[in-house]
C-alpha cells in the first residue's frame, strides 16, 4: 500500500457515510409508511407514521449533507476526487460551480432526490387531519421507494463483484489507470480538472436543471395520490388533494422545459429554441400527459366522470418521466441526439431499468385489479357540455404525447430483440428518422394545435352538464368577430412567408395561427364576459391565454424566421465549389464569410467584422461584429449595434460556438460563428519588402498601387500623446487596388527615451501589413510592405432574424402564472400569501426570460 500525500480523505468519508445513511433511512421510511398505510387502527398507524417521519427527516438531512460535501469538494478543487477532477476546474467562474454538480450523472440523480425529499418533507409535516390519517402513509411510501432507488444509483458499493451505482466520492486514482498514480505525490502533478463543458457555461445552466428536475420530481405527487386512491380504496377522493400539486407540477415542468429551450437558443448553435431533439421530447411528453390529466381531474371534480382516465394520466405522467430518464441516461439514443450521453455502465442501466419497471408494473396491476370498482358514469355526456370537449382535448393531448414518444423511441426499437428483426424484414434495414424529422413532428403537431386552440376557445363558454344554444352563441360571438378582424389584419399586413413545404402546409400554419389567436382572445374575454373580472378564479383562462400566445409566438417566429446570412438573400453569387455538378437550387447556403474590415451585406444590415478579443477563460475568443442599418438614401445610419458571438477553441482544436443575440421588442437578430481559423496554427511566413519612396510618389504592390500622401511629425491623435522630447513620424499612405478600391494605412515610427518603436498598420481587405521602416539617406521614406496569403482574418457566420420571438417567452410566463394561480387557489392559500408568491414568481420569470439578455 502506498501512502498518498496531500489527499483530503475526510470529505469523502463524510459523503460516503451520509449516502449510506440516506439509503438506510429511505428504506426504513419506506417500510414504516408502507406498514402505516395497512394499519386501520389509528394509534398503531400513528406510531408508524411518527417513526417514518423521524426517518424521513434524517433522510432529508443526509441528502443535504451529501450535496454540501460534493459542493465543498468541487469548490476547493480537491482533484483527488473523480467528481471534482471530471467536472470542476480552477479557471471556472464560481457561479458555474453548481452546474458542475449537475453536469454529472451522479449529481443529477442527487438533484432529483433532493427535490423528492423536499416535497416529501411538505407531505410529512402537513398537519391537516384528513391528510394525516388517509393520504400521508401511502403517498410517502411511494416517495420512499423512489428515494431508495435514487440512493442506490449514487451508492457505489460492490456486491458480489458488481458495483451498484456510481458514488460521487470515488478517487481519481481508483478510476483512471495511469502510471502517475503509483507515485505517492501524484497530486502535485494534477494541475487542473477537466472543467465544465463549455456549452454548459451559460447562466441558464445554473437555473434550468434545478427547475426542470423540480418539475420531474413533482410529478411523483399526483402519481403517489393515484396510488393512494387505489390502496385506500377511496377511489375518487384523491383528486381534490392532488389537484394543487398537479397544477404546480405543470407550472414548474413547463417553465423548466422552456428554460432548456432558452438555453439552447442562447448557447447552442442549432438556431432556435426547439429542435425536436429526443431529450427535449422526453421532457415534453410527461408535461402533455400531465396537462391532459389536469383536465380529466377537473371533469371529475365537476361531474364525477373521467375518473379512470385521471388515474391513467396521473400514473403515466410519472412513468414517462422515468422512461425519459431511461432514454436519456442509458446511452440508447446514442446516434440520434445532439446531447452527449454515454453509457454509464451496464449495472447503472439495469438499475434504471428496474427503477422504471418497479413503478410501472405494480401500479398497472393494481389499477387493472380495481378497474371495475373505480366508479364511472355509464351514460353519455351531452355534446353541449363542457366536459365532453375537455375530454376530447385531453385525449388529443395524450395522443399527441404518444405520437411524439413513439417517434422518439425509434432507436429503442432497433435494440429490442424481436422487434428489431421484424423491422429489418419489413423496412429492409434498421429504422432511422426520415429525411426531414422536424417536419414529421411539425405537421402532426400543427394539426393538434388547431384542434386544441379551438377547443380551449369554445369550451370555456360551455357549462358543465349542458349548455343552451342561445347562451353559447350570445357569448362566443364577440371573441369570434374580434379574431376574424385581427387575423385578417395579420394576413394583410404581416403575412406568413413559409414556402418550404408547399401551400398546404402554409394554409395549415394560417389555420393554426387563427385558432391560437381565437383561443387567446376568447379566453381573455372570458375573464370579463363571464367571470366579471374575478381574477381569483381566472387561473385557467389566464393559463389558456398564455399557452395560446406561446403557440402564436412559435408559429410566427419559426415560419417567418429569416436567414440573413443566406447568400440568396444578399444577392451574392457564391462561387461554385470544386464540384459544380452537385450545386443545386435547394442547397443550404446559410453561411457567410466576413473578411475583417470588409463590410458585407446581410439582410438589411451592413456587417463588418472588426476584431476578435480573447475572454478571460482560456481558449475563448469573442468576435466583434458591427451591424449597421442605413436609411434608403444610404446616407444616415438608422440603427447600429455590436454583436459578440464567441468561440471556444479547445486545446485539441475542437471548437464550440456560442451565439449572440440583439433583442428588440419585436425581433431578435441571432448570430453565431460557424467557422473560425485557429490563429496559433496560422503562422505567417511572408517577409516585409522595403520600398523607398518620397512624399507624393507612387509605387506598386501585387494588387494595385499605393501613394505616400504625406509624412506628419508628432501627429495630433487621440490614440497617442507625444511629449516635447518624442519624435514620432506617421506616414499617410493610400492604397488603390485594381478594382479601384481605396484603402488608407497610417504606419508610425516613434523614437522616445525608451528606444525606437514601430507601429504597423494593416489593410485586411488587401492582406497587407504596412510598416514605417525608417528614413533613408536621400530623405526618402522606407516603407515595409508585407503581402500575406495566409493572414486574411475572417470568420464565417450564420445569422437569423427571429420575429416576435418574445411572444413565446411572454406566453410561457402568462401560462405559468395562470397555472400557479389555480394551484394556490385550490390549495386554499390566503389571498395575501398568494399575491406575494405570484408577484415574486412573475418578477423572477419576467427578469429571466425577457430582461436578462
Amino acid at each position: 500500500m502506498i501512502k498518498f500525500e496531500g489527499e483530503h480523505l475526510l470529505p469523502g468519508q463524510i459523503g460516503h457515510f451520509f449516502i449510506i445513511l440516506a439509503l438506510m433511512s429511505s428504506l426504513v421510511s419506506l417500510i414504516s409508511f408502507g406498514v402505516a398505510s395497512t394499519k386501520s387502527d389509528l394509534s398503531q398507524k400513528n406510531e408508524w407514521l411518527k417513526f417514518g417521519k423521524i426517518n424521513f427527516t434524517i433522510h432529508f438531512i443526509s441528502i443535504l449533507v451529501v450535496f454540501a460535501t460534493i459542493f465543498f469538494i468541487c469548490y476547493n478543487h480537491y482533484f483527488e476526487y473523480m467528481y471534482a477532477y471530471k467536472h470542476a476546474s480552477k479557471e471556472l467562474e464560481s457561479k458555474f460551480l453548481l452546474s458542475c454538480i449537475w453536469e454529472g450523472q451522479e449529481g443529477s440523480f442527487l438533484l432529483w432526490s433532493i427535490w423528492h425529499a423536499v416535497l416529501g418533507m411538505f407531505i410529512v409535516y402537513y398537519k391537516k387531519e384528513e391528510h394525516h390519517t388517509i393520504w400521508k402513509a401511502p403517498v410517502m411510501s411511494v416517495i420512499g421507494l423512489a428515494q431508495l432507488f435514487l440512493m442506490f444509483m449514487i451508492l457505489g458499493i460492490y456486491f458480489f463483484g458488481v458495483r451498484i451505482g456510481n458514488s460521487p466520492f470515488t478517487f481519481t486514482r481508483n478510476e483512471i489507470p495511469a502510471p502517475i498514480f503509483s507515485q505517492p505525490n501524484y497530486l502535485t502533478f494534477i494541475k487542473d480538472g477537466m472543467g465544465l463543458n463549455v456549452l454548459l457555461r451559460n447562466y441558464w445552466m445554473v437555473i434550468h436543471p434545478p427547475i426542470l428536475f423540480l418539475g420531474f420530481a413533482s410529478t411523483i405527487i399526483p402519481f403517489a395520490f393515484a396510488y393512494a386512491g387505489l390502496q385506500t380504496k377511496r377511489f375518487g377522493e384523491w383528486i381534490k388533494p392532488a389537484m394543487p400539486w398537479a397544477l404546480m407540477s405543470a407550472c414548474i415542468l413547463g417553465v423548466g422545459i422552456m428554460m432548456g429551450g432558452k438555453w439552447a437558443y442562447e448557447s447552442l448553435s442549432f438556431g432556435g429554441y426547439w429542435a425536436w431533439d429526443p431529450v427535449e421530447n422526453a421532457s415534453l411528453v410527461p408535461w402533455l400527459i400531465l396537462i391532459a390529466g389536469i383536465h380529466t381531474m377537473l371533469i371529475f371534480n365537476a361531474t364525477g366522470r373521467s375518473l379512470r382516465a385521471s388515474y391513467l394520466f396521473a400514473m403515466l405522467t410519472f412513468i414517462f418521466v422515468l422512461y425519459s430518464t431511461f432514454l436519456t441516461r442509458t446511452g440508447i439514443l446514442g446516434d440520434t441526439s445532439v446531447h452527449a450521453f454515454t453509457e454509464a455502465g451496464k449495472a447503472i442501466n439495469i438499475m434504471i431499468g428496474l427503477y422504471v419497471l418497479s413503478f410501472a408494473v405494480p401500479i398497472f396491476i393494481l389499477f387493472f385489479k380495481h378497474y371495475k370498482k373505480i366508479p364511472a358514469i355509464h351514460t353519455e355526456e351531452e355534446t353541449s357540455s363542457r366536459e365532453f370537449y375537455m375530454f376530447i382535448g385531453s385525449l388529443l393531448l395524450f395522443l399527441s404525447a404518444l405520437f411524439i414518444i413513439l417517434i422518439t423511441s425509434i432507436p429503442v426499437y432497433s435494440k429490442t430483440p424481436l422487434l428489431k428483426d421484424l423491422i429489418i424484414s419489413i423496412h429492409k434495414g434498421p429504422l432511422a428518422m426520415p429525411e426531414d424529422a422536424e417536419f414529421l413532428y411539425n405537421k402532426v403537431m400543427i394539426m393538434v394545435s388547431v384542434f386544441i386552440g379551438i377547443l380551449t376557445a369554445v369550451s370555456q363558454y360551455l357549462k358543465y352538464k349542458n349548455t343552451t344554444r342561445t347562451y353559447l352563441m350570445g357569448k362566443i360571438k364577440y371573441p369570434f368577430i374580434a379574431t376574424i378582424i385581427i387575423s385578417t389584419l395579420l394576413f394583410i399586413f404581416y403575412p406568413i412567408q413559409y414556402d418550404k413545404h408547399g401551400i398546404g402546409f402554409l394554409v395549415a400554419i394560417y389555420i393554426a395561427l387563427f385558432s391560437s389567436i381565437y383561443a387567446a382572445i376568447s379566453n381573455g374575454m372570458y375573464i370579463s364576459l363571464v367571470l366579471k373580472n374575478n381574477l381569483k378564479s381566472a387561473g385557467a383562462s389566464i393559463a389558456h391565454v398564455g399557452f395560446a400566445v406561446m403557440i402564436i409566438g412559435m408559429l410566427i417566429s419559426s415560419s417567418n424566421k429569416l436567414i440573413i446570412s443566406d447568400s440568396k438573400v444578399n444577392g451574392i453569387n457564391v462561387p461554385i465549389g470544386k464540384d459544380p455538378m452537385t450545386k443545386k437550387e435547394e442547397d443550404p447556403t446559410e453561411n457567410l464569410t466576413l473578411i475583417r474590415e470588409v463590410p458585407t451585406r446581410m439582410g438589411d444590415y451592413q456587417v463588418s467584422y472588426v476584431k476578435d478579443s480573447s475572454g478571460h477563460e482560456k481558449g475563448r475568443s469573442f468576435y466583434i461584429l458591427n451591424f449597421e442599418k442605413k436609411d434608403k438614401a444610404a446616407s444616415k445610419v438608422e440603427e447600429r449595434f455590436v454583436l459578440k458571438p464567441d468561440v471556444y477553441l479547445m486545446k485539441d482544436n475542437n471548437m464550440s460556438s456560442n451565439p449572440d443575440t440583439k433583442s428588440y421588442l419585436t425581433k431578435d437578430i441571432f448570430t453565431y460563428i460557424s467557422f473560425a481559423i485557429n490563429k496559433e496554427k496560422n503562422e505567417d511566413t511572408a517577409q516585409f519588402k522595403i520600398i523607398e519612396i518620397g512624399e507624393g510618389e507612387k509605387s506598386y504592390y501585387s494588387n494595385g498601387y499605393f501613394e505616400l500622401k504625406k509624412v506628419e511629425k508628432n501627429p495630433a491623435n487621440s490614440k497617442y500623446k507625444f511629449g516635447a522630447n518624442d519624435i514620432a513620424l506617421q506616414a499617410e499612405i493610400q492604397f488603390v487596388s485594381k478594382d479601384s478600391m481605396h484603402f488608407d494605412a497610417r504606419p508610425m515610427i516613434v523614437a522616445d527615451s525608451f528606444g525606437i518603436l514601430q507601429i504597423d498598420d494593416t489593410v485586411y481587405a488587401q492582406n497587407l501589413f504596412v510598416k514605417f521602416a525608417g528614413v533613408s539617406d536621400n530623405h526618402k521614406i522606407k516603407i515595409g510592405i508585407k503581402e500575406s496569403d495566409q493572414l486574411i482574418d475572417f470568420v464565417t457566420v450564420k445569422s437569423y432574424v427571429f420575429p416576435y420571438i418574445n411572444l413565446v417567452w411572454l406566453g410561457l410566463i402568462i401560462m405559468a402564472m395562470g397555472l400557479l394561480m389555480s394551484s394556490l387557489f385550490r390549495a386554499k392559500f390566503s389571498n395575501r400569501l398568494s399575491s406575494i408568491i405570484l408577484l415574486l414568481a412573475f418578477i423572477g420569470l419576467f427578469y429571466m426570460f425577457l430582461f436578462a439578455n
Partner: protein, 138 residues
Amino acid sequence: MKRTHIIILIGIVALIIGLLVFSVDFSTYDTINSAKKKQGKFVHLIAKLDKSEPITYDPIKNPNYLSFYAVDSLGGKTQVIYHNSKPGDLEKSERIVLKGKMESDHFECQDILLKCPSKYKDDKKMLEKDMKDQTTKN
C-alpha cells in the same frame, strides 16, 4: 366516455396515422456499400473520417462547401460533400453519423452528427488521455 368518444377517438387516430403513412418515408442505417446500391435514397451512414484523404474547406471561397472522405468498418469508402460550414471538431471525431443521399460518386450530405471523445468525460480512454497530458507536461 361512450360511443361518441370512441368514434371521435378513432377519427383522430386515423387522421394521425393516415398523415404518417401517406407522407413519411422512414430512413435506414446503411453501410457505405449498401448505400451505394440505393442511389438517391435518403439514408443514415455510420462512418469514420478517412484521415489519409484531404479535407477541403475554404471558407473564403465558399463557406458552404465541405468535402472529405468517410470510411466505415466494412471497408466502404466515399467522398462526402456537405453544403454547410465545417463542424469544428470534425478532425477529432471518432464516429460520424452522416444523413443524406448517395449520388453517383459521392455522398451528398444534409446533416452531420459527430461523436467526439472530448464530449464524453465518461469515456475511460478520454480520461486516461487527459490525465497523461497533464502529468507528463511538466
